[in-house]
Amino acid sequence: MAIIEAKRLTKIFGADPKKAIPLLDKGWSKDKIFAETKLTVGVNQADFAIEAGQIFVIMGLSGSGKSTLVRLLNRLIEPTSGQVLFNGTDVLRMSPEQLRQFRRKNVGMVFQKFALFPHRTVIQNIEYGLEVQGIDKKKRREMAMESLELVGLKGWENSYPDQLSGGMQQRVGLARGLANDPDVLLMDEAFSALDPLIRKDMQDELLELQAKMKKTIVFITHDLNEALRIGDQIALMKDGSIVQIGSPEEILMQPANKYVERFVEDVDLSKVLTASHVMVKAETITIEKGPRVALQFMRDRGISSLYVVDKMMRLLGVITADDAVHAIKNGLKLEEAMQREAPSAVPETLLHELFELMSNSKFPVSVIDQSGRLKGIVIKGAVLAALSGNTVLEAGERHETA
């Protein structure tokens, strides 16, 4: 079941906001509603479901309503209509006290400009959420220290925020958000104020933390590359409406409309797509077979090389038609004739990292998982096809029929 679900979640700014709801139902645009009623549509009937353990990215340009949307989830901004369900409970029906408990126990938040309390030390900032819950001093200090270590800032607990660099401040913000071990972490443009290198480090660390702690994260960003890098699901927003929800590949490869298409056209796909996206099935032969069998196999399929594997599909080497002919002449076994120096990569390798491997080798790059099993190979044609914007599927098919 989804941990967070939004149903027709809407926020209208202005006096008498309910007036605009029927207009939205009629399908009026944000501009038309503003022109006629002076009401501003912040979020327009957003529908989505977030699975537990996911990183759900809400992306859009400034003014698209993404920051408003995330604040509707914990009611920092009061929604005009719709529903927010947290594990099936309607957040909008919570009493002030229930809402406070929800914010204290279930959702943490990290802010764009860090929003650290300047009069409190690092550790006092981190334990703020625990302090307002009334957790006793010793216990909350322990929990806060754990959180501080998690973000790698041990030793800084007694510094004040203004003594820290931007990156470190946001680590404190992250530690504060995680201190009460919430189910959901809301991150509002959390890395947007950091410079690019630090930003990339933080993204890596967030992914690491996520792998360890399995938090559900709602991440707001205006940066498509960031969204593609960390998102399991991406919701793209424009003028308060969600234009498309999908995995990074879906957004890139099957843009729902012209707007998404234009949005993603500048993306450097080589830094988004991985070997697993473009690989195709490898033609293999097990090690016990002889060179004659291998040669026959290649003739049958009209190919010039085979991947030699053991019974567990672990890659051992590559044998070409020339090698096989040579082996037959000299009475060698497959093991003795094959070349072991074939380039390989893990499935998560980004395309731009594959380029160098490919240019230095006459063989396709083999894709091998952690236990050494051959998952597939990457051929140049499939990579080029993927980069030119064709779907991976098409690229693969083209190879197989070639």
Partner: protein
């Protein structure tokens, strides 16, 4: 055509009379509380020999500020003692501290309410404008009617004159707390009281302290006026010197007020500076 004059003066007099007869128990209560506070404070201050107090104040200045401030306090208070205005200065100090204390007691909560509710701010702001611009002498008359002559009406009119900065700057200080910090406090599930005490007041503290400093200075500036309705202290010497055309005495007593003012101002400024850097 000439419109008849609005009988505003009559209305005010009527209101004054009505309040006097109907709110007498309240006024009586205030008279006792304020009177006892001033008298108690004055008794405490004059219980010590002058030399002990001078050293205590010097020590305090040294702890809070630097040696320069301690030296000024030491010399300044000795000058007052030497000129023979010590006990009067202590009376004035008791009056000023009482007025400032009550101003803070009323002003800070009022400022907090103003910051919290726009509706209250909309009512309080014009009242404060009125209190600050209406000539202070005008308060003296109803103050005497309600509290009779002496130190109590002096304290009351000092409070009316001096309380606005505390209210205004408390309000301002809380409203100036950055929106994102308030949002963060909300996001972690703070109650309104937790938000106030853990975030807003600590961050607004330097601004609130600046307001309190202004309040102390303004109530000190009221001591001469308060002496016109019988408040004792160094202000009474200034007033008498003015009525008798005695420039020398006027200058001496005035100098005592100046010295007291500088000491109080520098002490509170120093406290503000310390809260700023903490």
């Amino acid at each position: 055509m000439k419109l008849p004059k609005i009988p505003l003066a009559d209305w005010i007099e009527w209101l004054e009379g009505w309040l006097e007869t109907n709110l007498e128990p309240l006024f009586g209560f205030i008279r006792v509380v304020v009177g006892e506070t001033v008298n108690g404070l004055e008794a405490a201050l004059s219980w010590f020999p002058a030399i002990v107090l001078i050293l205590l104040f010097t020590l305090l200045a040294w702890f809070i500020g630097k040696w320069k401030m301690a030296l000024f306090t030491l010399i300044g208070l000795f000058v007052i003692e030497n000129l023979g205005y010590w006990s009067q200065t202590m009376q004035t100090l008791a009056l000023v501290l009482t007025a400032a204390f009550i101003s803070v007691l009323i002003g800070v909560p009022t400022g907090i309410l103003c910051a919290r509710y726009n509706s209250i701010q909309k009512i309080v702001t014009p009242v404060l404008d009125f209190m600050q611009t209406m000539p202070a002498f005008v308060y003296l008359l109803p103050a005497v009617t309600f509290f009779s002559l002496g130190v109590v009406p002096g304290v009351i009119s000092s409070i009316i004159f001096a309380i606005p900065p505390t209210i205004r700057l408390t309000n301002l200080g809380i409203r100036q707390v950055p929106e994102e910090l308030v949002e963060a406090a909300d996001a972690f599930g703070s109650t309104p009281a937790q938000k106030l005490f853990k975030l807003q007041l600590p961050i607004a503290k330097p601004t609130i302290m600046a307001g309190i400093n202004q309040t102390i200075m303004l109530s000190l500036s009221m001591v001469v006026i308060a002496s016109m309705i019988g408040a004792q202290g160094v202000g009474a010497y200034v007033y008498r010197a003015v009525t008798q055309g005695n420039t020398g005495v006027g200058f001496e007593a005035g100098l005592a007020i100046v010295i007291l003012a500088i000491i109080l101002d520098r002490l509170t400024q120093q406290v503000i500076r310390k809260t700023n850097t903490a």
